[in-house]
């Protein structure tokens, strides 16, 4: 964590009354989310219904999990471009092994193992051979997409009963609202990740690594294990996200999740995590995903807006957050 020197000006004076500065970006995202939901509630009938929010969680469960993994990587100052392809690969492995009649537990095990292995391999390349994260994960992205085509070029439907049961299962909340199991699972992942990052030795090393790798090394922190570990975690999260995506679409397809890595990165950035590493929170990434989801809900509620406004809005939001971070971290 770097120390920010208070500067003169409106911004600094406003900051003096606010909670610790490191929470500012997350609070900003939270305010943005609430604001967007509020505007939606005023403009469109039924938007403010709690079920809309719960559906938002359900529709974006896979992205939440992806963003969690991406947060770990970005906190160390790296980036993982392979997650989208990894999701597609996971859906295909799941669909194919289910088609072959494997038991569900084995299917889940294989998918998670494959994703984690891919992540670990990239981490090893990055740490031990000094290959830039960008390039190493680019290779991982191509590799996973290529493996997808080797498994099947066509879409494979998932007809397994257990999978369908999980996909459509939900808990009923008081008031007649319901929350899908996949959404609950995603929230559990967020909670676990938040705990790991804030209260475990591994989590603190992730922050230290992002702050300054040479310093972390000199402090005797396990840099190698942590650096490889974050990519393994990202791979694992991508595999989990892939399983959730397979549940969401009930199919495995090599063209699933094209460009989803961009959404995950955008969610992390909008969640206030510094792309240079060292600062940010998993909860921010969750909020980032919710903001992205709200934009889509907005557009579907409106009906007159075209789908491409989603991308443009996300771009603008990323820009705003990046520039804001630049201003906040300027010494």
């Amino acid at each position: 964590m770097s120390i920010t020197v208070p500067e003169e000006g409106l911004l600094a004076r406003a900051a003096r009354f606010s909670p610790p500065r490191r929470y500012l970006p997350v609070l900003g995202t939270f305010a943005l989310f609430i604001g967007m939901f509020g505007v939606g509630g005023i403009r469109y009938e039924g938007f403010a219904d709690p079920q809309v929010f719960l559906t938002l969680l359900l529709d974006n469960a896979f992205l939440i999990v992806l963003a969690v993994g991406m947060t770990f990587v970005i906190l160390t100052g790296g980036i993982d471009l392979s997650v989208g392809s990894n999701v597609a690969l996971s859906t295909l492995i799941a669909a194919r092994t289910l088609e072959l009649g494997w038991p569900v537990v084995a299917v889940i095990g294989v998918v998670l193992l494959a994703g984690t292995l891919l992540g670990t391999a990239m981490g090893l390349l990055i740490h031990y051979f000094d290959i830039q994260p960008f390039i190493a994960t680019l290779a991982g992205m191509f590799l996973a997409r290529g493996l997808c085509y080797l498994i099947s070029v066509d879409s494979i439907p998932i007809k397994d009963e257990t999978f369908s049961a999980i996909a459509f299962g939900s808990i009923t909340l008081p008031g007649g609202y319901y929350l899908g199991w996949t959404a609950v699972f995603a929230l559990v992942i967020v909670a676990v990740a938040a705990y790991v990052l804030s209260s475990t030795r591994f989590g603190r090393t992730v922050y230290a690594l992002g702050g300054s790798e040479p310093s972390a090394l000199l402090m005797g922190l396990p840099v190698a294990a942590t650096k490889v570990g974050v990519y393994a975690i990202s791979g694992l999260c991508a595999a989990l996200g892939g399983l959730l995506f397979a549940l969401y679409t009930l199919s495995g397809y090599s063209l699933h999740a094209v460009g989803m890595e961009l959404d995950a990165i955008a969610a992390v950035v909008i969640g206030g995590t510094l792309l240079t590493g060292g600062r940010g929170f998993v909860i921010g990434s969750l909020l980032g995903v919710l903001v992205l989801g709200t934009i889509q809900t907005f557009i579907s509620f409106d009906g007159t807006l075209s789908s491409w406004w989603t991308r443009i809005t996300i771009g603008v939001l990323v820009l705003v957050f990046v520039v804001a971070q630049r201003v906040l971290t300027r010494r």
Partner: protein
């Protein structure tokens, strides 16, 4: 290598140490594989005054990636990266096609010229935007260009109205499928841009200045180099190259699909640059290397179906190429290899290549 003594060994070591040795060797190997699979692979024939043949196809199909990669080389040389080139290509294609379709004389040559000019003007604006974020606001290049990468396809769809716009304009189509002096126009454009860029950066001080900015922007500024202007210029140039590539792709299909035009071209371009030996850490670039890299990718794309592997497996091989090339260029991997084979003393030349 320890088996060949004397001067042959020294020559071999020098060839091995040359940074283009491995890319060229890979390119050669791929061509040989093709030749074995299809003995007529190297045949080039003249038909209706046009050159035809697999090799010509490779150069023609590799033109968009080469164009994008040329711009990318200069950006990377300043220690930057431009992720938005695919989106810029899509926007350029969209602007040109929509203008042609909306224009009353949609088949006229003049319409095509105006459309292309307009598209390139838009690209300059997009390049200025990227350059502004990087050099003035001071955002990391990978993040600054991510903004346009995310938003760009949305903008392209906004231009086309989400439709796949099809054009019927022979002059515009000639950008991709036309021939000039028996050679395909697309290849001529790409090679022309390559030659012009090579001359400008290597015959003037510009190349040196770009490298100095890449090594240390602050020191360059203090030494009197206008870092900001140079950084700004390379982003505009990269966007222009990307736009030209987008126009060629759009002309090739006579249409523009904002979602798929130039998809992942930024990755292919970066791959070409890295294969060519340009360091992603900035400060050192080789346009010739980029040319070899782009041709290697184009040949690979052609080889896969030629030897009977489904074209989709392309990605798998690209992944392998990325990993192998990066390992060969990585100082750490070289050091490991060196330790393995270092029973015999080695010349200093190999160290040099590591840089």
């Amino acid at each position: 290598m320890p088996e060949s003594p004397g001067t042959v060994k020294a020559l071999g070591a020098r060839a091995l140490a040359h940074r283009l040795f491995w890319p060229l060797a890979a390119l050669g190997a791929l061509l040989v594989v093709n030749l074995i699979a299809t003995p007529t692979f190297f045949n080039v024939r003249i038909q209706d005054g046009h050159l035809f043949g697999s090799l010509v196809d490779i150069v023609r199909n590799g033109a968009p990636v080469l164009l994008v990669a040329i711009g990318m080389t200069l950006v990377i040389a300043t220690r930057g990266i431009d992720l938005s080139v695919g989106a810029v290509a899509a926007i350029a294609g969209a602007v040109a096609c929509v203008y042609i379709v909306k224009s009353p004389a949609d088949g006229a040559a003049g319409t095509a010229v105006v459309a292309v000019t307009m598209a390139l003007a838009v690209c300059v604006a997009l390049g200025l935007w990227n350059g502004f974020l990087v050099s003035v606001v001071g955002i990391q290049p990978i993040i600054a260009t991510l903004v346009l990468m995310v938003a760009g396809r949305g903008i392209a769809m906004l231009v086309t109205g989400g439709q796949i716009t099809t054009v019927n304009n022979d002059t515009f189509a000639a950008l991709a499928s036309g021939h000039l002096l028996t050679l395909p126009v697309a290849a001529l454009i790409a090679l022309g841009v390559f030659a012009a860029t090579q001359i400008v950066v290597r015959r003037t001080a510009l190349g040196l200045l770009i490298e100095s900015v890449g090594i240390n922007p602050e020191a360059s500024r203090l030494a009197g180099v206008r870092s900001r202007t140079i950084i700004w210029t390379v982003y505009v140039f990269a966007a222009l190259c990307a736009g030209t590539a987008g126009l060629i792709v759009a002309a090739n299909t006579h249409s523009v699909n904002a979602n798929s035009l130039g998809l992942w071209i930024e990755l292919d371009a970066i791959l070409a640059v890295v294969i060519g030996g340009t360091s992603l850490a900035g400060g050192r670039f080789s346009l010739t290397g980029t040319l070899v890299g782009a041709m290697l990718i184009a040949t690979l794309t052609r080889t896969i179906p030629n030897i009977g592997i489904p074209a989709e497996a392309n990605y798998l091989f690209k992944a392998l190429v990325v990993v192998i090339v990066c390992l060969l260029q990585s100082p750490k991997a070289r050091a490991v290899l060196q330790r393995r084979r270092d029973r015999t003393p080695t010349g200093p030349s190999r160290e040099e290549a590591v840089v």
